[in-house]
Amino acid sequence: MMKKSVLHTIFIALVALGGGALITACSDHSAPPAAPATQEQAQATPPEPTPEAAAPQEAKEVVCFESRQGGATDIIQHEIQPGLLNVKCSPTTSAALWYGDPYADTVPMGKMPLLESIPDDKAVVRPRSEKLNLLAMCGTACHNNTLPPADRVPPTLPKNNHPAPIPTMEGMLPEIANLQHGRGRIWCLECHHTTQRNMLVDHFGDPISFDQPQLLCGKCHGDKLRDWRDGIHGKRIGEWASTGKKRWFVCTECHNPHNVQDGERNRGFIQLQPETPPQLPHGMVDADYEKLHPIPH
């Protein structure tokens, strides 16, 4: 995707040399040529319309993140019905602000201990194991010459088979160089499976999917697991009735397990850019006004 956009940038830059009016003529196919002077130039570029047609589409592609950036939980905005978007994103922070369909791209959560009474179709999660499938991706992208769909490629991996620096583990996940979890008492293989590297591991050495990290995290954080099971900790969207269909957010959709104790953060969450403040009341010139002019009590 990155490479594609680079191509488009180059193409746009080339066209820009030819004249600004040409860009408008190319990007809007229904519009008639603006000036006769540009027509011969337009004829010189017939093979190009396909990438040019794709360019504005890609330019307006809106990707928003849910709870944390880099958690493989990004959503690409699209219409699910005419006039109904799957998600609305914040223009300032590109955070997901509104869900048109809370169950988009979800699969059943699977049976959880002590949650067997919930029917399969009532508890769903958004699978992320495909995006987090780093090792298999290496095999297909570099050696098999079969590229996965562009939106499935992890952001740290190359998007094509051109030679590129090999992404090391630390290059893909910079935060693991300084693992901030367990206060120095745990390391990678406490959580990751020894031989199946695209899986997590439970107490018995059996693999756990990346989509069910609660089975792993609950090993130590049992109190949080209990609250999560009851809906007190964590997040669910969908229907509010206790018997309703909900999309459950699993542990790693909100918490980065590799640096949960990072000193830069507060209360277990990465710092986020806040949305814009409310309108200042009449008479207040800036946000510090209320500090300088306290309300008499």
Binding site: W98, P102, W240, G244, Q273, E290
Partner: protein, 364 residues
């Protein structure tokens, strides 16, 4: 005239008052008025003129654009609580036609009433809140608030207050009460929690949460004993059977008594004509909820009635990135809110006001 004056008729007051509140001329028992009483004569005359106006209104409804028809019909509309199901449905169809024409897309106006066995409740984890204001913006995207740029045109129902954290560190032992104020306004004896009691809500840091701050979102608390309902002179705001305090916007006169009475700063008034771009308008609306408001009416959080009456979580619950917001049925012992009340440390804001909010703050 004086000679004709007779003592007031002895019919019970309920019988004489009830028809006058009705907008339907068929409800008037015109034949019941005896013969010569001045009072009944005047009443009959009034009814006659009213019914002729109604006829004119009905004629207007037949022809002309949906907007004008809706305006006419709304003049003769009863308070929402007094409307029959047929009248509610008529109002719904009228509004759907009007909004669909105005916003150029199919708009639905829901009139679903309270469901039996439901008492909505809300809980918010103040420890978790990071002050990102996503709930504020989600509320605006869902509830069709005015979003202009001029003063008073941007309305947000949720306020996120930033409070400074108190601390008992040694180097601050010498600092006493906030300078210039002379009184303690929060925090502890050594560090005040902000300079104003309300906290700061215009904070603009690069990133939240800040180290020395704690955040407290406030919106309508949906009180069980709402002061706003007590003071409303036209009784247009009231508590619904399943909990939320709602407003019949058509009967609001914009007197702002409720804004003064609310201890939680939860109500907003449309001082100007609301600025609502057609593209951003949410077409899924509820009559008592997020349907587009007019100028001069008060509005507030209603727990997304258009969603919660259909089973869906409120918009702010769904976007909270830290899962601090919880919503559920207080009568269901297995709901999230009931479990929080049973298990966590819970407080209500300004509990001493005896408003009995159904919005609970908790921490674990």
């Amino acid at each position: 005239m004086n000679a004709n004056e007779t003592p007031p008729t002895t019919e019970p007051p309920s019988a004489s008052l009830a028809p006058s509140a009705s907008a339907n001329p068929a409800d008037y028992p015109a034949a019941r008025a005896p013969t010569t009483s001045r009072r009944s004569f005047l009443k009959a005359g009034g009814m006659l003129s009213l019914s002729s106006l109604m006829g004119a209104g009905a004629l207007m409804t037949q022809s002309g654009e949906a907007h004008a028809a809706a305006e006419w019909a709304e003049h003769f509309q009863k308070n929402y609580r007094l409307m029959t199901d047929a009248e509610k449905d008529e109002a719904r169809q009228r509004l759907e036609r009007r909004y669909s024409q105005e916003y150029e897309k199919p708009v639905t106006v829901d009139i679903t009433g309270p469901q039996p066995g439901v008492l909505m409740g809300y809980a918010l984890n103040v420890r978790k809140c990071i002050g990102c204001r996503r709930c504020v913006k989600a509320c605006v995207a869902e509830n069709n608030q005015s979003r202009g740029e001029r003063p008073g045109e941007r309305i947000e129902w949720i306020q996120v207050l930033r409070m400074e954290r108190g601390e008992f560190s040694e180097d601050k032992m010498d600092h006493g009460y906030p300078e210039g104020l002379g009184i303690q306004v929060g925090g502890n004896a050594y560090t005040p929690a902000g300079q104003v009691l309300e906290g700061q809500y215009h904070y603009t840091p690069e990133a939240v949460p800040e180290k020395d701050a704690t955040y407290m979102p406030i919106a309508c608390m949906q009180c069980e004993k709402p002061p706003c309902v007590k003071v409303c002179p036209v009784r247009t705001t009231y508590r619904e059977g399943d909990g939320p305090v709602v407003i019949d916007y058509n009967w609001c006169i914009g007197c702002r008594m409720c804004m003064g009475a609310c201890p939680y700063w939860a109500r907003r008034i449309n001082l100007t004509t609301p600025v609502l771009p057609k593209a951003d308008m949410n077409p899924v609306t509820h009559y008592l909820g997020n349907r587009p408001r007019m100028r001069g009416v008060v509005e507030k959080c209603h727990w997304c009635l258009q969603r919660t009456r259909q089973g869906r979580y409120p918009a702010c619950v769904e976007v909270c990135p830290v899962g601090a917001r919880k919503f559920g049925n207080l009568l269901d012992p297995n709901s999230e809110v009931s479990l929080i009340l049973a298990r966590k440390n819970v407080f209500r804001l300004k509990a001493e006001m005896n408003t009995f909010p159904k919005f609970f703050y908790f921490y674990d």
